[in-house]
């Protein structure tokens, strides 16, 4: 039984990664799971300089999911390279850095640094809904994604480049094509859906930032549909995510066209969710006598 996959040039022992922003830089979860069992770790969104993050409250629960507005709080790439990366490198898993910025120049400067680090790939975050500048602003159109991605591609010539897309668009295939045409090696989808929860006693939104990104099982069908649409529109591989809790959920994404998957807020529900997904995929392979997990990618037959 072969669970190995190749995501955008990154050889992984299995298709299961943990999603950016839900797993920090891995230390906290290493108390609960063996990081060596993961196909890869996508780091917390990391920027050129440290970012303070948004005012609290930053999270709240919603039906089968949650809203967050963390605001990309992170210690900056230098700190990451010095303190977190050497620690992460002790594990036998692929390290993909989620890169975020407020301006194109910031993305470019950051990716110049990432190009020289001992990492396995970059996930370009063009989709965070919780910061005022950058990110989402670039991620919503074909032109926007193409412009940032091509400028980053020029300086990031030694690492696989995966572009993470927002679902907060009318047609997800447009930014996906923008990424492909700019030379991205892969696409990651979806980031969170913009949402809001109101405290009816205070008549105010629960989150200090008013709106936040919706994640969890509630968004899964939207994510599966979008992964399918992207798979029809582009040739580069897809890292699929959105509410994955079990191996069965992961298989859905792979049938829709994802080469690999990410576990996001499912980590909060159970720190062992990612490991259970790895085991669940193996069980599915045994049950359906699948020799090679790659063979199921994009094999859904539409009615």
């Amino acid at each position: 039984m072969n669970t190995k996959i190749n995501l955008a040039g990154i050889e992984m022992k299995n298709p299961v990664t943990v999603a950016s922003g839900t797993f920090g830089y891995g230390r906290e979860y290493s108390n609960f799971i063996d990081l060596n069992k993961l196909g890869g770790i996508i780091t917390k969104g990391t920027s050129l300089k440290a970012r303070p993050g948004n005012k609290p409250p930053r999270v709240c629960e919603t039906p089968s999911g949650m809203l967050n507005s963390i605001g990309l709080q992170n210690p900056g790439v230098e700190y990451f390279a010095k303190y977190d990366l050497p620690w992460l490198r002790e594990f036998d898993t692929k390290i993909i850095v989620n890169a975020c910025g407020s301006t194109i120049d910031e993305y470019v400067e950051l990716c110049k640094i990432l190009n020289d680090l001992d990492i396995d790939g970059v996930e370009l975050n063009l989709s965070c809904p919780n910061v005022k500048a950058g990110c989402l602003a670039f991620g919503m159109t074909y032109e926007g994604v193409k412009e940032v991605t091509s400028k980053v591609r020029k300086v990031l010539d030694r690492k696989p480049l995966i572009v993470k897309l927002t679902p907060n668009v009318t047609d997800i295939t447009q930014p996906a094509k923008g990424a492909e045409d700019a030379g991205a090696d892969g696409i990651s989808a979806i980031n969170t859906l913009l949402g809001m929860k109101i405290d009816i006693d205070k008549r105010k939104p629960v989150l200090a930032n008013n709106t936040g990104g919706l994640s969890g099982p509630a968004v899964r069908p939207v994510a599966v549909r979008m992964v399918y649409q992207i798979a029809q529109a582009v040739k580069i591989p897809i890292l699929g995510l959105g509410g994955i809790m079990t191996g069965e959920d992961a298989i859905e994404f792979m049938l829709a066209g994802a080469t690999a998957v990410s576990i996001g807020s499912g980590n909060f529900y159970d720190p062992e969710t990612s490991i259970k997904v790895v085991e669940g995929i193996e069980k599915y392979m045994q049950k359906h006598k699948i020799e090679d997990i790659s063979s199921i990618i994009g094999t859904v037959e539409m009615n």
Binding site: G21, Y29, P271
Partner: protein, 258 residues
């Protein structure tokens, strides 16, 4: 180090309407837990409600921990319906900022409402080591809880109610302030509603009394990864957002903006 553990409910007690005490079989957690730690409970195995519920540890025994919680919403309601013998999945002990159980001569502990519960293990550990006065404030007589439990471990217990329906009328902090005029304690420990904690903080900063405050904030992961439960930390050169689940839940009153 925090672990994930399936804990059997050994005992369930309704303290007053809407407030429950569970005794959990949790040896590995009990062995390492400190006063001020909390746990995160998965209230449902269906994925709905989605997030775990952070609940402070009330008491630590050899192989057991006790929690007391108020039914506030869907999650705690489901938890309150669990029966003796049921097993719940728990992460714990959580929080690296705990109460400093140290050598003190005179200690004041102040708790408001359900904020008194996270203070009990602290009082228990200080018993016989320091002269401890517990100040507990409640809205009214019907909400007064754990009077006897605190009397058993503290040298003195002061109870106030906002409406005067039981013991002294007024706020617990006002009594503490009066007592401080006679003799200041070496340290004050506090947990309770935000307005009370703000008033406590203002008082101790003015009087220059060491103080530790247990905070709560909406949480995602509970272990320091999601960065959801932010609190402004002002102890360094520049203010920054720290996190209640990791650096807290107990902070020095001088270190946080509340």
């Amino acid at each position: 180090m925090p672990i994930k553990l399936d804990c059997e409910i050994l005992k369930k007690e309704k303290i007053i309407e809407g407030i429950y005490k569970f005794t959990l079989k949790a040896e590995p957690i009990a062995k390492t837990a400190k006063a001020g730690n909390f746990i995160e409970i998965q209230v449902s195995t269906t994925g709905e409600p989605f997030l775990r519920r952070p609940i402070s540890i009330y008491s630590i025994d050899d192989d057991k921990i006790e929690i007391i919680f108020q039914v506030k919403g869907k999650g705690t309601e489901i938890l309150s319906e669990k029966k003796v013998g049921d097993v719940i999945n728990v992460l714990g002990p959580l929080g690296y900022g705990t109460f400093s159980v140290d050598n003190y001569k005179k200690v004041a502990i102040i708790g408001g409402g359900i904020g008194t519960y996270p203070l009990y293990e602290l009082a228990k550990q200080l018993k016989g080591k320091a002269d401890v006065t517990m100040y507990m404030g409640f809205r009214n007589k019907d909400l007064v809880t754990l009077e006897k439990e605190f009397e058993d471990v503290c040298n003195k217990v002061v109870i106030t109610t906002d409406d005067g329906s039981y013991k002294q009328k007024g706020f617990a902090l006002d009594v503490l302030k009066e007592d401080c005029k006679k003799e200041k304690p070496d340290i004050i420990f506090a947990c309770g509603p935000l307005p009370m904690l703000k008033a406590v903080q203002a008082f101790v900063l003015e009087e220059n009394i060491p103080c530790e405050i247990s905070l709560e904030e909406r949480m995602g992961c509970g272990i320091g990864a999601c960065l959801g439960c932010a609190v402004k930390v002002i102890s360094g050169k520049e203010p920054r957002y720290g996190h209640v689940c990791k650096e807290g839940p107990v902070f020095k009153a001088t270190d946080v903006e509340i």
